[in-house]
Symmetry: C4
Subunit: 244 residues, 4 copies
């Protein structure tokens, strides 16, 4: 009898953990599909004035996906060689967070439900398990960590200086838009990233000239991290190809 159970365990393990046979691939596709469906229902729920039938359908999908994710979680614990290690691993915690909000919602009152609902989004991170290319990206980020941090530091100082400068020039002319440095920071972020919504912009000559100089200096600096990550990634790919 224990032997039969051992064979079953091995069989489940081959489907759930190792992705090398047909059944395990179908299982992976099924779980990924359910994650995507679960994210779509999460989004649809936020549409105002839904019909009661739609609400019911969304709830059924949610119940079904939580049931499946729970079963998957229990199976993964069951087949794990080192159970505590799996439970406290990155994916163990993610798997738990993906179902926890549903069960917690029974125990708490309705007020705090909203923030809980957002926890369901952790399910997206379950997708990472099936994405090997992601490691690639993580490695590239790590290798360029120092430069990225340096540029975040420079960017923050530049944004702050821009905010102070524009506050100095525009505060008197537009006290409603540039009432304090904190308000000016919003302008600095939206301008230096070149988003430029147009909700706040300088109207004095001084402010416009200042914006010109800030943009000349800033555009180069804000955009540099892109170049760094991009070159780090290219290097990481090259190394991969060499080591093959």
């Amino acid at each position: 009898m224990p032997k039969a159970i051992g064979v079953l365990k091995q069989y489940i393990k081959s489907i759930v953990e190792i992705n090398d046979n047909k059944k395990s691939k179908y299982f992976a596709f099924f779980i990924q599909g359910l994650i995507l469906l679960s994210i779509v229902t999460f989004s649809v729920e936020t549409i105002p004035d839904l019909k009661p039938q739609t609400r019911m359908l969304l709830r059924i999908i949610e119940w079904f996906s939580v049931m499946v994710f729970t079963l998957e979680y229990l199976l993964r614990i069951y087949v794990a060689d080192n159970k505590p290690k799996f439970i406290f691993s990155f994916f163990g915690i993610i798997d738990l967070l993906a179902i926890l909000p549903f069960y917690l919602a029974f125990g708490v009152d309705l007020r705090s439900l909203r923030a809980l609902r957002f926890l369901r989004l952790f399910r997206i991170l379950k997708l990472v398990r099936y994405n090997n290319a992601m490691n690639h990206f993580t490695r590239a980020i790590k290798s360029a960590k120092e430069e990225i941090l340096l540029f975040i530091f420079i960017t923050l100082i530049l944004i702050y200086f821009s905010a102070v400068g524009i506050y100095y020039f525009e505060n008197e002319a537009q006290p409603e838009h540039f009432s304090s440095i904190f308000d000016s920071l919003w302008w600095a972020v939206i301008t230096l990233t070149t988003v430029g919504y147009g909700d706040v912009y300088p109207i004095t000559v001084g402010g416009k000239v200042f914006t010109f100089f800030i943009l000349m200096i800033g555009l180069g600096i804000v955009a540099i991290p892109t170049g760094i990550i991009s070159s780090a990634l290219t290097k990481s790919v090259d190394k991969n190809e060499e080591s093959r």
Copy 2:
């Protein structure tokens, strides 16, 4: 007699298929010019309140170009060594799609004409036949396929997260602009691509701080595919030069 026909066929083939003599070059220029003219007339047709004379002129140009494209298509079939292979090849299908809408318009009622008219735009793809540099670009894309897919995946997740976050912060303050996650997705796309039309933007402090963090993370990531394609293209050019 069959021999004379064979010589004629060879003569047409040298003009239509192989671009190495003067006549075939004039033929190519003529077809390219007609494609461009055909696209211009397509655009002019959409201008409201055209004079009847202009409408008539546009129709004549359209008739003429379809006649020429039909003749070209038939000649290409005629001179092809393997006729079915040409008909079902990429350019065979494009050549058919370029004239099909015109002939279909006789058989169907006027309602569905509009969508049909847009099919005429496939003619632009006929231009690709004459553009060798395009292969270059296609090869660069293919060599960087894996990284591009990875970044599309990351970008999509980032856009989705931004939409959920901003929905959380702005839904109460601006229910008309951030009524559901689907509405928020529009904001996320327009902000992370730095287009920033200014039709929707956060007004709460929480939403603005969230936008700052999203932009800091997002700008780097959204712009990276550019770097990848660009470096892949440079490599592809280098290889080309080496192999010459």
Copy 3:
């Protein structure tokens, strides 16, 4: 006597043409300063409601600079070894264009004066004579000519497709903004370059989804020429350093 004139000619030549002694450097600085001054006065002239005194001052500066540029032009012809060659060289023509509008203004009636005035801007190009680094840039552009042309071609097709698509989606909902494909082209240019003024933007769901896809494809492509020029420039610099 002819010998004394020869010495004088050599002396002028050393100042005007060859930049290796102190006097020629002062001469170069003087000309460059006058060009910049001339551009500033050109800009100031466009300010509406200027005082008569200011107008008079601007006219005097203009007269003075034209006199100097004319003298410079005549001296350059005088010291040139091959006079016709200089006159029809790039800089010979630029030097003439820089003063011609002034003299032509005497002969023509006032109507066409405005377009003539803009010709004065050619003086900016006189600055290029003193800028060696410019050659560097020209060489980099030339070496990447093929790729740049390819991307301009792809970009144009992409902009055109975007315009047709958005016309299809938004024409009915916003006939005033998307009245024809030509109007939609304006939207396509401002969106794909991420300028996003906010004067026209899609409001239908179809148009917004279409914009999302266009931006995903487009941002990569539109930004690529930058990468190409930038890498071509880096290469050109490397070669320069090697050949030193």
Copy 4:
């Protein structure tokens, strides 16, 4: 006695100047924290309608940080081997500028206080002392100095040409927005950097077509310095790794 003082001096020096023991690290953290706190209080001060208690708290923090910075400055002079050299060094001047505004505020009347307050921001530069990565960046900038200057020159000419062109096209249609070339310069800066606030944009067909061409040329050029700095930085990192 002098020996004991010498030991004390050496002890202070090890904390203030050299960052290799625990105490000196705590000291560095404390100064950095105080700089950040001082910048936060500077920003909070600009919020209108603060409570008197908050104002008092801000003033106490300001007094305290100036006291500490003054003490730090005096200690640094005390332990310096070459006192005049330190006082006139970059960091010596920054340290002085960080405290000077506070003391000057006693001697001058209230009117000019505002500009003085901004001098307090020089304290941010004190952070640079603790950031080694910064040197890295400075070196990269220096090595690409020539190209950066060239592109600033080209960018300026391009912005100026754009302003003149749009003035020509839009002046008659929108005299309030494009009243002179100086007003048009604002449009040129905001458009070529792709910020696109939407406060000024062309409405004539000529102006729109001109904007299209300017953007096609301009986007490549304005963005190139980024590529240059980015590649210079990568090189500088590579050299660093090699020399290790």
